[in-house]
């Protein structure tokens, strides 16, 4: 895994875990790598992984079964989407809005582009 420069490592690892859940590499109720395994794989301090897992637990994305390990929560996919949506609205949307405003892009134009994009990428 390549870490980017601008975001805290523990959040980047949270994204990494979420990505795995969304892509269904790790399915609901399945066991995920332990703190130590994850630390070794990503070459990161185990305390950092612990912080990531704590965060994901509070967001109900993973759960800790004492003595056994961490498991993907039942409704993890919804939780991940929820978590990401909040994050997107809070952090990424303002930047987008700023550009839309500065570049004077109309909502009509935006809507057309959006629909095109969906068609091309997701065949919806």
């Amino acid at each position: 895994m390549e870490f980017r420069d601008n975001k805290a490592i523990y959040l980047q690892i949270a994204d990494y875990v979420c990505e795995h859940i969304l892509l269904e590499k790790w399915k609901a109720e399945e066991k995920i790598p332990s703190v130590r395994e994850m630390a070794v794989e990503l070459e990161v301090n185990p305390n950092t992984i612990m912080r990531t897992y704590d965060l994901l637990q509070t967001k109900n994305i993973i759960s800790n079964k004492r003595g056994i390990g961490f498991f993907v929560a039942e409704k993890a996919v919804d939780q991940v989407k929820d978590f990401r949506k909040t994050h997107f609205i809070a952090d990424e949307l303002p930047v987008l809005f700023r550009n839309i405003y500065l570049l004077n892009i109309s909502f009509d134009e935006l809507q057309r582009k959006y629909e095109n994009f969906i068609k091309e990428n997701f065949n919806a």
Binding site: D5, L11, E43, V44, N45, N47
Partner: protein, 275 residues
């Protein structure tokens, strides 16, 4: 686990290296010790291991005074120095002669580490390359399961794959019972491994804080222009790398090199954030 109080140390009376420094290290952490050349990183490590004697002040290393060099303390410390020597024997002979001094030495773990590091077992230690020798003593040190592991520039001399192996091994070696302290210039090799930072400058500890504490109080980011809110900035291709107070609870990634330069040039401006 380790308490240092009012440590004064220097080589000779008129060349003080540390004036009245105090700090504490706890188990379950990897500390990164940073400082310019000659700031005293190695000397501080040697003080902890009882290899040199403090002029004033007290050191408490899990209840022992390191200056007494008692076996019960020594078997709980492993020191990987920058310069070292290994004798003209094979690995098993070396282990046979040295491992019995460490009661908790784990032979299976040692064998695993040697395999993971790809070290030729049949070769005499003295004929190995610097990097290979270094990997042998790192493996030995970790296999002792010592409470305090001290490493002075551990990644020096390691090739690119070995550095990755080293990081993996260190990530797995940290337990709740042990404390690892690594002095380094090669910040990029270790920045995701270190969870606490100690910086030495001008006979004193310029900063001791956990990575979480640092990123809670400061934010590291690329900016287009420098303004008053920025404490320290370095020019880059597209603007500046900047350190500023974390006004908006941003969760940025600690840039150790930037922080190091920032602390050295703007020490007084950072003081209020970490006290």
């Amino acid at each position: 686990m380790i308490k240092v109080n009012n440590l004064h140390f220097g080589y000779g009376k008129n060349q003080p290296l540390f004036k009245n420094i105090s700090f504490q290290l706890d188990a379950g952490h990897i500390y990164g010790l940073l400082g310019k050349n000659g700031a005293g990183k190695s000397s501080l490590l040697k003080n902890l291991a009882g290899l040199v004697y403090a002029q004033q002040g007290t050191l408490d290393v899990f209840g022992f005074d390191p200056a007494k060099r008692q076996p019960a303390m020594l078997e709980q410390i492993c020191f990987i120095p920058e310069e070292f020597y290994l004798p003209a024997v094979k690995i098993d002979a070396y282990v046979k002669a040295n491992a019995p001094f460490y009661k908790k030495f784990n032979h299976d773990y040692f064998t695993n580490l040697i395999q993971e590091f790809d070290i030729p077992v049949s070769q005499k230690l003295i004929n190995m390359s610097y990097g290979q020798k270094k990997k042998v003593i790192i493996a030995f040190a970790l296999a002792t399961q010592a409470k305090l592991i001290i490493m002075d520039e551990p990644t020096n001399g390691l090739d690119i794959p070995s550095k990755a192996q080293f990081r993996k091994i260190m990530a797995s070696a940290l337990t709740d019972e042990c404390c690892i302290i690594i002095s380094t210039h090669q910040v990029r090799d270790l920045d995701n491994l270190i969870d606490s930072v100690i910086m030495l400058d001008e006979n004193d500890i310029a900063l001791q804080a956990s990575v979480d504490e640092i990123t809670e109080k400061l934010t590291f980011k690329k900016v287009k222009a420098v303004d008053d809110s920025i404490i320290y900035a370095e020019p880059s291709l597209s603007g500046y790398y900047a350190v500023m107070p974390n006004y908006h609870q941003e969760e940025s990634k600690l840039d150790l090199e930037l922080l190091f330069n920032a602390i050295l040039t703007e020490k007084t401006k950072f003081k209020p954030y970490f006290n």
